[in-house]
Structures are given as C-alpha cells and as structure tokens.
Amino acid sequence: MTTFQESAHIALQDTQLRHNIGNATRAIRAKRNDAVAELPDWEELREAGRALKERVLRHLDHYLVQFEEAVTASGGQVHWARDAAEANRVVVELVKATGADEVVKSKSLTTEETKLNEALEENGIRPWETDLAQLIIQLAHDTPSHVLVPAIHKNRAEIRELFERELGIENLSDEPAELAEAARRHLRAKFLSARVGISGGNFGVAETGTIALFESEGNGRMCTTLPETLITVLGIEKLIPTWQDFEVYLQLLPRSSTAERMNPYNSFWTGVHEGDGPQEFHLVLVDNGRTNVLADEIGRQALGCIRCSACMNFCPVYERTGGHAYNSVYPGPIGAILTPQLEGLDRAGSLPYASRLCGACYDVCPVKINIPQVLVHLRHQVVKHERATLDPEQAAMRAMAKVFSSRRRYEVAQRLARAGQWPFARRGVIQHLPGGLSGWTATRDIRPLPKQAFRDWWRQR
C-alpha cells in the first residue's frame, strides 16, 4: 500500500497540479468566508448541526429502524448491504430486473467508495456519470481528487482537450460556459430515455423517510425524477432525526461547500410519489466499515461529516498535495481520519500524519468535527499498533517516559547528562551526537545543559 508520504512526494513535483489546486482553493476560501460572515448565528447553527449528528450516532439503531419503516410506508423498498461487494450485488440485481443495459448516475461518493461503476460494467450495464466533474473523471479514466469538485486538479484547458478527444466535439473554446454547454448536449438524450437512475443522497430523514439531494447542475434532478426506477445508495450514517432539522443543514452545507447562500437545486423525495417521478424506488443502506468507526468513541464523530469539503479547501497540506495523494475516495483532513477507520490502519496508517495539526479544518467544519483530536488519537493507535515490534525508538521513548515520570530519576539523569556531555559541547553548542542519537543533530544543533539547573539554583537561594 502506497503511503501518503510517498504519494505526496510525487504530487509535490507536479507544478501544474499545485497551480490548479492552489488557484481553486484560494478562490473558494475567500468566498466561503464571505458566505459564512453573512450569518450572525453561524456558531449556533454549527453547534446544532454537531449535536443533531451526535444524537443520531448515539442512537443509530433506533433511527435506522424508524427510517426503514418510513421509507417502506411511503412505497420504497429498503435493502441492506454489509460491505461494498454486497452493495454492488444488490444494485446490479435491481438494474438487471428492469432489463435496462444502461443507467444515468448522479454524483455519489458512496458508490465511488464501493466502485459500483466497475461492478455495473462487469455485468454489461453502462453507467453514465452525469455530474460535470464526474463526467470529466470518467472520460479521463481518472479518479476523484476532491469530494465536491472531483476534477479540481484539472484546469479548463485540460478539460477542453479531453472533451474534444473523447466527445468528438471540434472547435471548443476553454470558456467554462461553453464546456458546460457541451456536457448538456452530450447527456440530454440519455436523461430523456434512461429507464434507471442511480443516486446518492446528502441526508435521510428518519422521521419521514425523505431523501435529500443537494446539487447545482440539475443532473441530480434529472436522475431522480425522469427514470421509471430510482436506486439510491446511502451510507447508514447519513440520517438526521426530523424534517425540521433541515433548517440547520440547509444553512450549513451550501455556505460551507460551494460557498453560496444556497446551491441551485435541493431535491427532497419520500418513497414513491404517485404520478410524479419514478414509480419504483429502492434504497440501499450501506455499512462498509461505518460500524467500525462508530465503535470508537473518539473517532465516531467523523461519521457526522456532511461532505461539504471545507476542510480540504482550508488545509495547507491538501492545498499542496491535492487529493490523489491520500489514495482514498475521501481526501483532505476528513479523509485522513475517515479512511484509516473505514479501511484499517494496515492500509491507511500513514494518513493520520498527513497534517500539521494547525486546526484550520476544525475551525471551518460546519458540524464541528474535532479533526485534530481524532488525528492525534489515531496516531496513538498507529503507535500502539506498531508496539509489537522491538523498535529502538519505541524503547528509547519508553525509557524517557520512565525518567520523566519521577523527580528523583529526572534529577539523576540531568546530573549524568551534564557530566557526559562535555566531549560533545563546543563553544556553547552540540553539533554532533554519537551513535543512535546522531539523527537528532543531522539537521540541527542543540544547546548543552547549563552548568547549573534551575532546580539547584532555587534550592541554594
């Protein structure tokens, strides 16, 4: 498994990538700050957003059962999937049952996580990604690098070239409006004729069984309104207790993600609506590691994430490495705490170190996930995980812990060090330490201990 440090090292050498990501995140940071500053009660909204998610997570079994009942009562069919393979199997079977050999898809991180498109293709079903950025990614055979703007690493010139090559459109300019127009023409016929739509969802309301989808382009509305059959894939953590709670999330999410007062379209549907939209509705509830995250009392808060992407837009590490370095569907600070918990430390143990713990992510998180706290917690897990091996650094740290935990041992160690340091100190600095300690002085000097410690001076006063 490639570590974050290895991937970041490669990414940092790509100056075009750094330029694209730096440009995009700089613009969105300024816009987000303006959008948030407009609301005098932003902090109160954040606190409510956090508390509602805590309520759901602490009683997730209750809310899942309530949600299932409400969806079923309104004409939907609920399916459960323990892992990615099971989720894909369920979706493939549902599509096959309709006889369709292609589907239109709106952007869904959960189906990215389960690699649904590959499973569909293996079964002879063609998935059409309809979100502009997802279309770019699909045409380029690339993977997403940002949760909101999966193609953030590509600039307009690169997208123009891709469209000319893959869609066979000539004389395209690199004006974003013209590129969007090309995508509209390309997908129009698909939307009008598709029999099956597949979507994700931003929220599921336990009380009513309502699903919410927040988007900009209208492709989400197309996928969830026009086909005869709709299949929505939802992680089990996406629930909120009641319809009323949208008064919080409708304010927190748009301003944190696209940095707008409101994104262009928010759709809410509840099961099957007679004479309006799909007359067959399936909901697939996916675990795929989420219950592992839930079991960790500190790490659990990561499941409150509403996928706004503010944390990556503000992260100084993400800004330089981009999203691919995280080797995960969920990049940036949230990915650094979510991925190791979903996939295990063996696969993603390097990610908790993809941060300098500056806390910018925590400051901007609309549901107040304490990302630095979870990062430190996970680093502790990584260290514990590695403790089984007889590592000299581990041994040294354990010895240090012993010395520092007793006043007597500490003072003895100080006296020994003062006596032992004289061969290395030159003109008030130590430039080279011997043996195993030489690593410390490879890039820095240290000051020797003074002749008299503060403790000794204090006693003599």
């Binding site: 694209n20 995009a24 995140t25 407009e38 009660d41 109160e44 606190e47 409510a48 508390a51 509602l52 309520r55 602490r58 009683h59 997730l60 079994d61 809310y63 059962v65 409400a70 399916h79 459960w80 323990r82 309809t130 703007v149 974003p176 409006a177 969007a180 509209r184 997908l187 129009r188 939307f191 009513t208 069984g209 900009s216 382009e217 209208g218 492709n219 509305r221 197309m222 309104t225 319809w243 009323q244 949208f246 008064e247 409708l250 696209t258 007062r261 409101m262 994104n263 262009p264 379209y265 928010n266 759709s267 809410f268 509840t270 004479g275 309006d276 675990d287 219950t291 079991a295 009392e297």
Partner: protein, 211 residues
C-alpha cells in the same frame, strides 16, 4: 437480505455498548439557539428576496397584480417562448397572451423537451437565500415540468416570501409531497470552482414577485 439487516443492526448495537441503556435520543441535548426568523418587516424581506434572486443572475421583477399577465407575456417574448406548459392550478388571469398554453396530460419526456418553458406558482420563497420552494402543489405541477424545458417563469405572491430558512422549512410539509428548492438557474462550479450558469436544468429563470 434480512441477514444483512440483522447483522448491521447488531454491529451498530455492539458499537454503541458505551451508550447507557436508559439513554433516549432526546437525552442528547440539541440547543437550537439560532435565529428562527429574520426579524425584518415584510417590505424589507420582499426587497431582500428580489436582491438575492438577482445575485444568481436570474431575471426578477416586482409586479402589480393588475400587470401580471402583461409581464408574463413580455417575458415569453423576450425569451422567444411560443409554447408554455402550465399546471392546472395557475390562475387564468396570469396566463400570457399570444402563446400556446399546454396542459400537462401525462406529457412524455420528449414532448416536454420540445416545449419552450413552464409557468408555475410556488409554495414559498426565502429572502436570505433567494430561493423558490416548490412542493408539487396544483399551481406547480409535477417535478419534470420545471426541469426539462429550458425556461422557468415562476410567479411568487409577495405574501409567500419569508425571511429565513427556518421559516420556509416550517411552511412546507416535508415527507408528503416532493419538495424542490430552486436558487437561480442551473449552474456548475466544477471547472476551477467558478460558478457558470446553465447546465442541465432550465438555463433561464424568470421570477415575478406579485404584490
């Protein structure tokens, strides 16, 4: 399938062992200390709505009731719309002249695609965010009507404009009819994170606020 359900619920319960058995969801405190309404007089709320809709580069006008038909007609002319789909609940006195008005008798997607625009009312509107709320009421019709045609003309009675998001959420019966919030024309920020109007939904949105 039910095996998966039982196993997932079992995993959730195991993961939540540390939550006391006698704790109920309502025991987890949720402080709703945020603003419930904007606290502004109604005239200011309507003025803010108009300003915010305009920010999305939608066309927005305040219209006296007596002039509504004329203004709808003019909007159609401006956008060369000759055929409009109109839900049955849109009042007769608002329907434009010189334009073919089409009733939604189970129009197919292809038929809708050949229509120039849709004329609807709305359930509510939100000033702070410049948002129109549709709930598939009789003057709004089913969701496809305001999605497939390239022009949406929306009549917003001034008394349906509220200041804040919480006020609008309280006005709509979520969980029964489908609800759609519309804030400006279809747009994307997918290219270099810059907003561009006009992708799959209607590229032109005309909002007429009626006094």
């Amino acid at each position: 399938m039910s095996d998966a359900r039982e196993e997932i619920l079992g995993r959730v319960r195991t993961a939540l062992r540390n939550v006391p058995d006698d704790e109920s969801p309502d025991d987890v405190r949720v402080e709703r200390a945020y603003r419930r309404d904007s606290g502004e007089p109604h005239e200011a709320v309507v003025a803010l709505f108009v300003e915010r809709v305009a920010d999305y580069r939608a066309e927005v006008e305040r219209v006296p009731a007596s002039e509504l038909r004329e203004r709808v007609t003019r909007a159609c002319e401006r956008h060369s719309a000759r055929r409009l789909v109109v839900p049955e609940g849109v009042p007769a006195h608002t329907r434009p002249e010189g334009v073919e008005l089409i009733e939604d008798r189970n129009l197919t997607h292809a038929e809708l695609d050949a229509i120039d625009g849709a004329l609807t009312g709305c359930a509510a509107a939100i000033a702070e965010t410049g948002t129109i709320v549709l709930d598939a009421g009789p003057d709004q019709g089913r969701r496809a009507l305001t999605l497939v045609p390239d022009l949406h003309i929306c009549i917003v009675p001034a008394d349906r404009v509220v200041g804040s998001v919480p006020e609008a959420v309280a006005r709509v019966a979520g969980g029964q009819r489908p609800v759609t919030l519309i804030s400006g024309p279809s747009a994307t920020s997918d290219i270099e994170l810059r907003r561009v109007e006009g992708v799959h939904g209607p590229r032109r949105l005309v909002v007429l606020v009626v006094e």
